[in-house]
Every structure is written in C-alpha cells, then in structure tokens.
C-alpha cells in the first residue's frame, strides 16, 4: 500500500512537470500549428534564471524560492515572446519552416547554455521543508511532490479561467478551432499568437524552477529531457487541448512510475507503446482540437 501511494504521489509530481511544459506546447500547436521544439529551452532558461537569482539573494527561504519562481516565469515569458516576434512571426503560417526554426533555436540555445553554464548539473538550494517527508498511510512522501502538484493545479485552473473569462481567452479558444474565421471577424489573431507564446513561456519558465527543485539541480538539458515526454503527453492528450494535456500528463507519469517499479524499469517503454497505440487508433488524441 505504501508503495502504491509513494508511486502515485511521485507520478503526480512528475505529471505536474510534464503538464507545465505540455500545456503551453499544446496551446501553441492548437492555435498556431507550430510544433515548438524550443519549448524545452524556455523551461531551462527559467530554471537557470531562478537558480541565478536565488544564488544572488542567498539562503534557502520560501521567500527566495517564491522570487525565483516569479523571475523564472518572467524570463521564460520574455524569451518566448521574443522568439515569437523575431523568429515565428516573419514566417506567418508557414508551419514547417516555423517548426524548423524552433529546432534550430533549441539546438543553438542548449549549446549556448552548455557554453556559459557548463554541461554539469548545478545544484540548487531548497527550503528545508521540501527535502523532508510526510507520512501518508504509511508511505514517506517527499514534500516537494506537494509543491509540484499544488502549483500545477493552480496553473491549470488559472489558465482555464483565463481561457474562459477573458476576451483574449475567447479569441484563443476560437482560434484553436478556426484561425481564419477569427481573422475574418476582424480580429488580429497574431496578437493571440504572441500571447500564447508568452503564456507558454511563462508557465514553462515557472516549471523550470519547480523542475530544479524536484531534481535538485539545473542543467542545460533539463528542458530537453522533459520535452520528449511533453510531446508524447501533448499527442496523447490531443493537440490544442489544455485539459487533455493535464489528463495525459498524469496518465503518462503515473503509468511510467508504476511500470518502472512493477515491470522492471520499463516505464519509458510502456509510454512509447501507449503513444504508438494512441496514434494508430485515435490520431487526434484523447481530446483533440479544443482549447479547454
């Protein structure tokens, strides 16, 4: 029983990280048709920014962590916005070239991170509570899981509320369904493009700080390693669907943990098989082409 709870909580924590990348990824694809390979770098840059600021401020208090989360989100948003304005927008609606550009950006940025911060992990300081454990029904659950799960749930509901109750959210939901028609109602859909990049970047940057808390370090490959799983999650959940991404994140991460534990470390393999099955039987994913 305690194994099950520990695996579940760890899976949920990891699922939270997957969601923080996959959510933005899915919205961007749904609205713009751009498969964003640079999304992992948005996460990495957020993680690095958060780590640098916490080094600057020193200490391992909650206040410092909070500030580094905000800084990570801001830096992620700024980098993503710049990416959209400078690299994606000039290739308006040329999806293959846009995806290629993000491939180039991801290769170049990871290499740059390696050049500046080195290839080795840089360890982060954490509030002491996060390293402690809490006993739940006999299982000793590391506290950082709670932080991850709580944050991801907040982000999910925040994004859903934004989509539901704001005019920009309305434009994004409509754009995911039919971009040309939004334009034909006199709305500049490109502003929504920039906005989803900014949101996706902010969430990924925020996720970067959380990922560094979970893994205990930042490295140039932090985002890239998570990105592959985020892609898988996005496809399984249905490109363009936020709720789909959330469900698939949990599904994938929990399945991965259980398969790793009970099926001799086959977690990644099971996920790949799941992806292939979903693609071949239901190519639009669980909830395809809906922004919410």
């Amino acid at each position: 029983m305690s194994d099950v709870i520990l695996l579940l909580m760890t899976g949920l924590g990891l699922g939270a990280l997957y969601f923080l990348i996959a959510g933005g990824l899915s919205l961007i694809y749904g609205l713009m048709g751009v498969l964003n390979f640079a999304h992992g770098s948005f996460l990495t840059v957020g993680a690095i920014a958060g780590w640098e600021i916490s080094k600057l401020l020193g200490g391992d208090s909650w206040g410092v962590l909070l500030i580094s989360m905000v800084v990570g989100a801001l830096v992620g948003a700024v980098v993503a916005t710049a990416t959209e304005l400078l690299l994606i927008r000039p290739l308006y609606l040329r999806h293959i070239e846009q995806a290629l550009i993000t491939v180039g950006l991801s290769l170049a940025s990871v290499a740059l991170f390696e050049g500046i911060w080195g290839v080795d992990p840089n360890y982060v300081s954490r509030p002491p509570w996060l390293i402690e454990v809490t006993k739940i029904a006999g299982a000793l659950v590391p506290n950082d899981r709670f932080l991850l799960i709580g944050s991801a749930v907040l982000v999910l509901f925040g994004m859903l509320a934004f989509l539901r109750y704001t005019r920009f959210g309305l434009i994004i939901r409509a754009g995911v369904e039919n971009r040309a028609m939004v334009q034909a109602l006199g709305i500049d859909v490109r502003r929504a493009f920039t906005l989803v990049f900014a949101i996706g970047g902010a969430v990924a940057g925020f996720g970067g700080v959380l990922a560094s808390q979970y893994f205990g370090y930042v490295s140039p490959h932090l985002g890239g390693n998570l990105l592959i799983f985020a892609f898988i999650v996005t496809i399984i959940g249905g490109l363009g669907s936020l709720v789909g991404a959330a469900i698939a994140s949990v599904l994938v991460a929990v399945l991965q943990q259980f398969a790793n534990f009970y099926l001799g470390g086959t977690g990644d393999l099971v996920i790949v098989v799941l992806l292939i099955v979903v693609l071949l039987t239901r190519p639009t994913g669980l909830l395809g082409k809906r922004a919410h």
């Binding site: 939901r173 409509a174 040309a180 939004v182 334009q183 034909a184 006199g186």
Partner: protein, 234 residues
C-alpha cells in the same frame, strides 16, 4: 461612385489559380447577387476580397485600396462576412460566438438580435456545435449583423436549409440589406429574384455578365447559358 470596385483580381489557393481575372463594381445600396456554376470561383472571389486567400489586382473599398491589407484590417473597415458552410465556432456558446464578432460590444444589439433571430436568442448558452444547420446559419448571419457595417459579404446562406427556413433567412437578409449593401452568393434563383437588384455572373474565372438581376433572370437563354438551369422558378 461605387462602394466596392474590383479590377482584374486573380486569386490562388496553394499556388493554384482559382480566380483568373475578375472585375466588377458594387453599388452603394441594395443586394448584388454573385452567380455562376459550382466551382466557378464565387467563394474564392469573396475570400480573395478580404484577403483570406492570396490575391492580386486592384481592390478598393470606400475609396481605400485594400488589396494589400490583412484580413482583420479589411473587416474593421466595416465589412461583415458570412462564410459558406457557416463556420460557427462549434465549441463556443452562441453568446460567445456573437461576443467574439461584436467589434463594439454586444450591449446595444440585443433587441436587434431578438427581433431578427428569436430562435437563437433563446439558446444563447447552447454550444454552437450542437445547433441545427438552420440555427447555425442564423448564428453566422447574426455574427455579421451585430456590427454597423458598410458592406456584407454573404456566401450561400440558404444552402441545405428547409424551404421554410430559406424564407426566414431571405427575410432576415432583406431586412439587413435595407441598411447595408450586400454582395450575395446564392444558388437558389427564387431567392435571388426576390432579393437582388443587380447581378454578376462568373464563368471560367471571369465576369461574363454584369447588370440588372431582372434582365438576367427573365432571359431564359442567358440563365441556361450561364447558370445551367432553365428559367427562374424552380
């Protein structure tokens, strides 16, 4: 002076020429019908006008050159577009569809919507994807009519509707056209006869007739030649 003037417009979809060399003018009042056989490029002409597909040529609207403008800017000049096949946002509610379209907010338009489209007024919170075809057509029309426009572009609004609904739609169009001139693509010649003063006929990617609708529809030879049907009544 005409409201919309098009000179040798050509349009392409994925590199393929779908409108070759179209020129016409739209007067400042009334309904002008855009006619022609299936696949002749009527929809593409409308889409080209507002920049939804790549186009070349001189297009001026209210004296302004709009041939290089992006779609949203053109629409904001005061054009309401009702696409072929409705294209309502299926996952959004009726109200959200209207809200999205209303450039100056919806508040002052409720009476108007209730009067013109009582059926959808009672279903504001229903998801548009679950509406019947006729109701979806009303939403699509309402989306164009919630704004004060200079021109309406309406593409086959009666396609696939029951005769009774066709008449309701025609009535709504007539009401709308009292205030705003309209370029109307329509296959149902009864409706054309009922509504349109002027007519433009496309064939082979070009304009082959521009004149009074009555002239065209009362001449059986002409209608047979251009539209492939005999006479005006179906």
């Amino acid at each position: 002076m005409s409201l919309l003037s098009v000179k040798s417009m050509s349009a392409t979809i994925a590199g393929q020429l779908v409108v070759e060399d179209v020129s016409f003018e739209i007067p400042e009042t009334g309904i002008t019908a855009l006619l022609g056989r299936n696949g002749v490029g009527k929809t593409s002409t409308l889409r080209g006008l507002i920049g939804l597909i790549d186009r070349k040529g001189e297009i001026s609207f209210g004296g302004k050159d709009i041939s290089g403008m992006p779609t949203n800017k053109i629409i904001q000049l005061g054009i309401g577009y009702v696409p072929e096949d409705r294209e309502v946002f299926a996952s959004l509610s009726v109200q959200e569809n209207l809200k999205l379209a209303a450039r100056k907010g919806l508040d002052s338009r409720w009476d108007f919507i209730e009067k013109l489209f009582p059926d959808i007024f009672g279903r504001l919170h229903q998801r548009a994807g679950t509406l019947s075809g006729g109701q979806q057509q009303m939403v699509s029309l309402a989306r164009a009519l919630v704004n004060e426009n200079q021109l309406l572009l309406v593409d086959e609004p009666t396609k696939g509707l029951a005769p009774k609904i066709v008449q309701e739609t025609a009535a709504a169009l007539q009401l709308a056209a009292e205030k705003t001139p309209m370029l109307l693509v329509e296959q149902n010649l009864t409706v054309v006869k009922q509504l349109a003063e002027d007519a433009i006929v496309l064939e082979g990617g070009r304009v082959v007739f521009q004149g009074k609708a009555k002239e065209l529809l009362s001449d059986e030879k002409l209608t047979a030649k251009y539209l492939g049907v005999g006479g005006g009544d179906e």
